[in-house]
Amino acid sequence: MSATNSRSFATGGSLLQGSFTNRIRKPTELMLVPMIDIFTVLVTFLLMTAVFSRITILQLNLPSADAGGAPAPPQFRLEVIVREAGFELTNGDALIAAVPKVDGQYDFKTLSDLALQLKREYPDVDDASVLMERQVKYDYLIQVMDTIRSTKVPAEGAAPGSTTTLEMFTHIAVGEAP
């Protein structure tokens, strides 16, 4: 900047001429540097506070929540009992199927298949219970709930290999295993 100034004085033109050429030469300057400073600080701050993992919730179906009204007529209700040894599926009274652990891991695939089969049998039923033994990890509760809540089925009429999500038992209550 000083260079241009000195040059304009060096040309020996009148003061008016000097300022005129100056106005032509020098475009109006934005004060960009402070703006960049602020932006940098903002970006760093926002990046640091940004949360990249979303927390969602699973709502439990509590029997006492909307008490009142006549008790619903007895109908099918899926119960999944999570034991140390594996899953047990019952309809409240009778055992439907037992899914033992495979290689020390819970067999979620079979559970999903059985749940789908039961959902096809009773399409109107949304209610289910997950009953857990005391020492089973809480993580498995969520996984079992996920498994019976929805499943992926092959989409009909679509390209082979594509799947759609089928909602199964969405009202899930939680309890302790008998």
Binding site: L32, L46, T49, T56, I57, L58, Y138, I142
Partner: protein, 153 residues
């Protein structure tokens, strides 16, 4: 000197700042929008919450947090897990006391009970028994809805 000048006419060294500002504006806007939808639940350090396919967004509620060592209500330490497992009661008494505080929920009428909500953030390695105790305590006091906080897959 003059020779040198003539050979290479002097060009003002200039940073090209405009594209940089463009990029930064986009970044700032993106981050601002991304953080704008308020997270009701803060992910707490030291808790590994389970993954799930759940899509429901969390809403404003009383938050009960269970870490590997302690139980918190709205960030306030209530009991340690050692005490909870040692005390052989069906409910967690200190938690019950805190949950019964009237200032935790706004309205005190009976109709609000069913709507009162509590969100449980629990570490995934905890035994179910403990989580069940916390949930039982919540329902035994005046909370009609329980949600479990999970990490979206």
């Amino acid at each position: 000197m003059s020779l040198l000048n003539r050979a290479a006419p002097r060009v003002d060294a200039e940073l090209n700042l405009i594209p940089m500002i463009d990029v930064m504006s986009v970044l700032v806007t993106f981050l601002l929008i991304y953080t704008a939808d308020v997270e009701v639940l803060q992910n707490t350090k030291g808790i590994e919450i389970p993954n799930s396919t759940a899509q429901t967004q969390a809403n404003q509620s009383v938050v009960v947090t269970i870490t590997k060592d302690h139980v918190f209500v709205q960030g306030e330490m209530v009991a340690s897990l050692a005490d909870v497992t040692a005390a052989d009661t069906p409910l967690i008494e200190p938690l019950k006391k805190v949950l019964e505080r009237p200032m935790l929920f706004g309205d005190a009428d009976a109709a609000g009970v069913a709507k009162r909500e509590v969100t449980v953030i629990a570490d995934k390695s905890l035994p179910f028994d403990l989580v069940r105790k916390v949930m039982a305590t919540c329902t035994a006091t005046t909370y009609g809805k329980i949600s479990l906080a999970v990490l979206q897959k």
